[in-house]
């Protein structure tokens, strides 16, 4: 049952499978491997099976709520759900925080008939590194359990890759959807800032945070975003504008689409030798689909990466200062060190970040006058070994934070593997609110490749059963 959401939705409607069968299958994978992979913080088996049975009854009665109807999903545990508490994978968060019930994004998924299977692991408060001294699971990569899934949407990334659900929600402040997506060989979309409401999600960096979809394919993510997108006044940054048709433009053709490529090789010390060849092969597929490819250079790359990483720390510090003062050692080591950076940033520097951000927005818009999309590697390398994780090395390798400062839609799709068998991702970026163009490119690429359909050996036998 290693299916895309798209294929599962079709199978549900032909009678090839049922939502209960799909849900039982993913539960069986979780029963077998969650202990090793650290995907879930809480599993909602009974309510998931009840929701699946309801979906089957509705579909049998001719009530069709769309492509997510009856589909098992996972929810990152910084997003509130009706089923249980939200922990942010932290000893610090007041457990009454999530008493509001479903966040708007979860309510929208539920209204679309999705089956909520549980809450997934995260880096504490969506930042830092795994901390073995705290009583939470260590997320391990299904492609190699000695390696990290990436984060902070670790459980959703690992869970999709392992087949414990078909899609799920992550959040992305500096790359926390796209990072586990590239590391785990799945697809993850950080749409335009403000496109999806963040109410009901524990904040990290208020002006950098996004909730977004993670799944096997661009088409799956498009189906999810079609449900997630839309205004909610409870989020001050939520944008009130119509939602585009994300699925309608998935033609498989990129005829005449202008794509700028920036390999970003000079911006990381961790490029794997095979990165260039893997990226070149991916770009060749885009060209074969009809794209007109040119080389571009992202303006103010280092400066805007600084804006995101230091800016989010400053914003997070404002939220966490009282708890940092009174409960320093209750936080995980990586989280408290990353957030406390905000105490060392002058207020004037924070304002300067916002001035540079505006300059960057103008320069990127000028770049997008010449191209319709930009592609880069998502990361310079594959997943890092858990035994050698450092936050600085993670940030050095990632090419995601730039786009949190800018707010453009940016999606990671699998584009191959390192020689060690670890997934690599291609980042596809569009103009603000042009998610449809990003999905169209990702879909065209995935029509020509099968990287997104590969299953980790760890679960291949179980998934084939």
């Amino acid at each position: 049952m290693y299916m895309t959401i798209t294929d599962a939705a079709a199978a549900l409607r032909t009678g090839e499978t049922t939502s209960v069968a799909l849900t039982e299958a993913v539960i069986a994978v979780a029963d077998a491997h969650d202990g090793e992979l650290g995907v879930f913080l809480a599993r909602y088996t009974d309510t998931a099976l009840a929701a699946a049975a309801k979906a089957d009854a509705e579909l049998a009665a001719g009530i069709d709520l769309g492509p997510l109807h009856g589909i098992p999903l996972g929810i990152k545990d910084i997003i509130a759900t009706d089923e249980g508490e939200t922990t942010a994978q932290s000893l610090v968060l007041d457990r009454s925080w999530g008493d509001m019930g479903d966040a708007p994004v979860v309510a929208r998924l539920r209204a679309a008939g999705a089956v909520i299977t549980g809450k997934t692991t995260t880096m504490e408060y969506a930042i830092g590194t795994p901390d073995p001294d705290k009583p939470f699971p260590i997320p391990r990569n299904p492609w190699s359990t000695e390696h990290w899934t990436g984060g902070s949407s670790s459980g959703t990334g690992g869970g999709v890759a392992a087949g414990m659900f078909l899609g799920g929600l992550g959040t992305d402040t500096g790359g926390s959807i796209r990072f586990p997506a590239t590391n785990c060989g799945i697809t993850g979309m950080k749409q335009t800032f403000g496109r999806v409401p963040k109410y009901g999600c524990v904040p990290l960096g208020y002006s950098f945070d996004h909730i977004g979809p993670m799944a096997r394919s661009a088409q799956d993510c498009a189906a999810m975003l079609a449900v997630l997108a839309g205004h909610d006044p409870r989020d001050a940054t939520s944008v009130d504008r119509p939602v585009d048709d994300y699925l309608g433009g998935l033609t498989g053709s990129l005829e005449g689409v202008r794509i700028g490529v920036d390999p970003l090789l000079t911006h990381s010390s961790q490029n794997v030798p095979e990165l260039t060849a893997v990226l070149d092969a991916a770009v060749a597929e885009l060209r074969a689909a009809g794209a007109v490819v040119s080389t571009v250079e992202l303006p103010l790359y280092a400066e805007l990466k600084t804006v995101t990483m230091v800016g989010l720390a400053a914003e997070a510090y404002a939220y966490h200062r009282p708890d940092l003062q009174s409960r320093w050692f209750d936080y995980g080591a990586g989280t408290r060190m990353a957030v406390a950076t905000g105490a060392l940033v002058p207020a004037g520097d924070y304002v300067q970040m916002q001035r540079v951000r505006r300059v960057g927005k103008r320069k990127v818009a000028e770049l997008f006058a010449d191209v319709d999309l930009i592609v880069t590697p998502t990361s310079a390398c594959g997943a890092a070994p858990l035994a050698k994780l450092t936050f600085d090395d993670i940030i050095d390798a990632l090419h995601t934070p730039y786009w949190n400062a800018m707010g453009n839609p940016a999606m990671s799709v699998p584009m191959g593997f390192t020689t060690d068998g670890l997934p690599l991702g291609l980042q596809i970026v569009g103009r603000p609110f042009e998610e449809a163009a990003v999905f169209a490119a990702g879909h065209a690429y995935q029509q020509r490749t099968d990287w997104h359909l590969r299953a980790p050996a760890l679960v291949a036998d179980l998934l084939a059963a």
């Binding site: 320093w328 105490a343 060392l344 304002v351 916002q354 001035r355």
Partner: protein, 61 residues
């Protein structure tokens, strides 16, 4: 002359009333110059000299 991180960082932490371990303070001191240089570089972006910050305040709730 730039302030000495070994003086500045503990002072800023004390002002914030947060008390990391000595080992953690040492890491923060070691990391401070690199981040300060990255922040200084933001003032070297010429187009930002007379730019408005991307901050929006709305007087209506």
């Amino acid at each position: 002359m730039p302030a000495d991180p070994a003086v500045l960082v503990p002072a800023l932490l004390a002002a914030a009333d947060i008390t990391p371990s000595p080992e953690e303070v040492a890491i923060m001191i070691a990391e401070f110059p690199g981040r300060a240089a990255a922040l200084d570089a933001l003032y070297a972006v010429p187009e930002a000299r007379y730019e408005e910050p991307d901050l929006v305040y709305d007087a209506v709730l």
